[in-house]
């Protein structure tokens, strides 16, 4: 069954797809987005129920293999110490993310020039800066100007509150003389553009019932749709097809009823992120592209980068009111961000403090740590740790390595029979050394803040939510998949706009940079519309 052709087809309605759709809407082109998930219903988010914590282990888990919602596809990540995660819906993984929203630093775009490692990006911070600004306005980013770790940047909203917990941790950073700054957060700390202000409820990671956390279903999409973009949900693309001229000519997808349909398009844009995008390209084989669409370089799926995470937690003597405030956004330190080879590794990491564990999570964490036994000592043991925990995740920069990759699993398929992705990943020596350093520094600053005991886990096995590098950007078609404005080297009317085009990973959350790139690519498409296929 064939649909009427469109000018631009965007696959994926997440962070990048939404930003691009909004950007291109003013061209008045016929733009369609196909999304395999559906619109979320905020009234069903767990935060309104007393069982909200445990739902984060079930239907609102970060892992698609745990959730197994109809719109999820399985991921074989058995050959990786880090489990991959993503969320399929209008809004994509922004539905579940913490909304910690830092930018890359200027050096992150030029690690080869600065540190002699990996590769430089074919663009720099200055090129992307106006798009970071635009994204800040559209998403509503809260923060504090003046961070000495960055070039000047402005925020439409004041920063999220530190609270007693944040002030306690800030005291530790100040005692050691380390850098810290209130987090850049995609959270409306005041009423903003029709969205209600954050109420510091805490369960950001299972969907924001308040609508204060900036997911793209409530930021970019309403405006894009009002401007004429069509968004169809529960439509899962099976493959992108190629015409005899070697250009893409559309997709085959399954609609909400499971019926196979054909959608023709002049331009196809992929926004399925670091696992979904290479998976679709590898599933799109043709005579012209026997190894997968746009894969003449062999680079599709290679150079998978996660951010190896460490989690360091401290126990304090006094109650910290850690159940208040956005869970993942408080303050960030980049004291150990740039390369210092005396540490034994290159590049570095961000320390991002977390709020405290809520009641059920305290009991379960205590149980796994052997700190909260059942029986006569339960009460004393629980009360010694409840609301007395504070800590951080430490995001380590991952370097691109060809053996870390996404391929197609030979057996696993999704609910529509489409081959599922397989993740093969090894932690590098650089990451292992960096994680050890990060854990030691994390414990050091928590003790400086007053922690009487500290705990650490590294790498954090569940933390595979940053997915980057698998269709990398570059100027050389032999070593990259897309050019400096996201156009596939091999296919002039195919664009990729998500984290898979990252050249290097930086040591910060990627979503802000993903969206800034999508907006930049949107502008480049508009500038080159007249001769796009030349």
């Amino acid at each position: 069954m064939a649909d009427a052709p469109v000018d631009v087809l965007i696959i994926g309605a997440g962070a990048s797809g939404a930003a691009l759709a909004w950007s291109l809407a003013d061209t008045r082109m016929n733009i369609l987005c196909l999304e395999q998930g559906d619109w979320m219903a905020p009234e069903t988010y767990p935060a309104a129920g007393r069982d909200w914590e445990i739902r984060g282990f079930g239907d609102f888990s970060v892992s698609p293999n745990t959730r197994s919602r109809p719109e999820d596809y399985p991921v074989n990540d058995s050959d990786s110490p880090i489990a991959a995660s993503m969320f399929n819906a209008v809004g994509g993984s922004t539905i579940l993310y913490a909304a910690h929203f830092p930018r890359f630093r200027p050096s992150d775009f030029k690690v080869k020039s600065v540190d002699g490692i990996a590769d430089d990006w074919p663009l720099d911070y200055e090129r992307l800066a106006p798009y970071y600004d635009e994204n800040a306005r559209m998403m509503g980013v809260a923060g504090l100007a003046g961070d000495p770790a960055y070039p000047p940047k402005a925020f439409p909203l004041p920063p999220v509150p530190l609270g007693k917990l944040g002030e306690t941790l800030a005291g530790g950073f100040n005692k050691l003389g380390w850098h810290w700054w209130p987090s850049d957060s995609a959270i409306a700390t005041q009423d903003y553009e029709g969205r209600a202000a954050c109420i510091n409820a805490g369960p950001c990671l299972t969907g924001c019932a308040q609508g204060a956390k900036a997911s793209t279903d409530i930021t970019y999409w309403p405006v894009a749709i009002r401007r004429g973009v069509t968004l169809k949900t529960r439509c899962r693309v099976r493959e992108i097809t190629v015409g005899p001229d070697g250009l893409v000519d559309g997709v085959i997808y399954y609609d909400a009823d499971g019926t196979e349909r054909r959608q023709r398009a002049e331009v196809v844009v992929l926004g399925c992120n670091g696992i979904g995008t290479p998976r679709l390209l590898l599933n799109s084989r043709s005579k012209q592209f026997p190894d997968g669409l746009a894969n003449r370089s062999g680079m599709v799926g290679q150079n998978l980068m996660f951010h190896p995470y460490a989690m360091v937690t401290g126990l304090f003597e006094e109650r910290l009111e850690g159940y208040k405030g956005p869970m993942g956004c408080c303050l960030m330190s980049q004291e150990f961000y740039e390369t210092d080879r005396t540490r034994g590794f290159v590049r570095g990491y961000s320390m991002e403090t977390l709020r405290g564990l809520p009641p059920v999570s305290t009991a379960l964490w205590g149980m796994t740590q052997g700190r909260v036994p059942w029986g006569a000592d339960h009460r004393r043991a629980y009360d010694a740790i409840f609301d007395r925990s504070a800590g951080m995740v430490i995001i380590c920069e991952d370097l691109p390595e060809g053996h870390n990759r996404v391929t197609l699993d030979p057996e696993l398929v999704d609910g529509d029979g489409i081959p599922a992705p397989k993740v093969t990943y090894r932690l590098s020596e650089n990451s292992t050394s960096m994680l050890a350093h990060a854990v030691a520094r994390g414990k050091e600053v928590l003790e400086a803040a007053g922690a009487t005991e500290t705990f650490a886990e590294a790498p954090l096995p569940i933390a595979g939510w940053h997915l980057m590098g698998t269709t990398r950007m570059g100027t050389d078609p032999a070593t990259s998949v897309v050019n400096e404005w996201g156009r596939a080297h091999d296919v002039k009317n195919l664009f990729i706009i998500d984290g898979s085009i990252f050249v290097t990973a930086a040591g910060v959350n990627p979503t802000n940079t993903i969206q800034a790139l999508a907006l930049y690519i949107g502008d480049m498409i508009k500038k080159n519309l007249a001769n796009l296929f030349d």
Binding site: R50, F173, I199, P203, R379
Partner: protein
């Protein structure tokens, strides 16, 4: 018996045993601020959870059955009728043949217990979910807190 199930997953006698076991997992606090998990009525929560978790049924029902057999072997009327020392001894014995029972039940007990309104109140929290009320937070004197960071950057 759970209101959501038509056929009880465990018998009334097993509910009494379960209730007594729950009171051993999370006993009442000495100052009576925190009730025991059994007295709080969590047996119903466990049964409801079993109703939509077949894996849990495979652990809890056989565990309770074995526990009742151990009680009968001692010549006791019921698990609930035993003194604490004897209860704990039987739970130890149970663990030898049903090793998953106590850890699994403990997990679900903690989940049910620490979302209960009475327990939230005892923790000095408001007995409600986070939304729609959220929490008030005071703003910080960021200028003073960040002064060391700014000074260091200027050097």
């Amino acid at each position: 018996m759970s209101a959501t199930t038509t056929t009880p997953l465990i018998s009334a006698a097993q509910v009494r045993t379960l209730t007594a076991v729950l009171d051993e997992i999370v006993p009442p606090s000495d100052d009576a601020r925190f009730p025991g998990a059994g007295a709080l009525g969590l047996a119903a929560y466990v049964e409801q959870t079993m109703a939509h978790t077949p894996d849990l049924q495979q652990v809890i029902t056989p565990g309770l059955t074995t526990l009742d057999r151990l009680v009968q072997a001692r010549g006791a009327e019921s698990f609930a009728a035993l003194c604490r020392e004897d209860r704990l001894a039987l739970l130890d014995e149970l663990t030898a043949t049903e090793p998953a029972f106590l850890p699994t039940l403990t997990f679900h007990t903690y989940v049910g217990y620490y979302q209960h309104e009475r327990v939230l109140e005892a923790l000095h929290l408001e007995p409600r979910p986070p939304y729609p009320k959220g929490f008030e937070m005071q703003s910080s004197d960021l200028a003073t807190l960040l002064e060391p960071v700014r000074r260091r950057a200027e050097r």
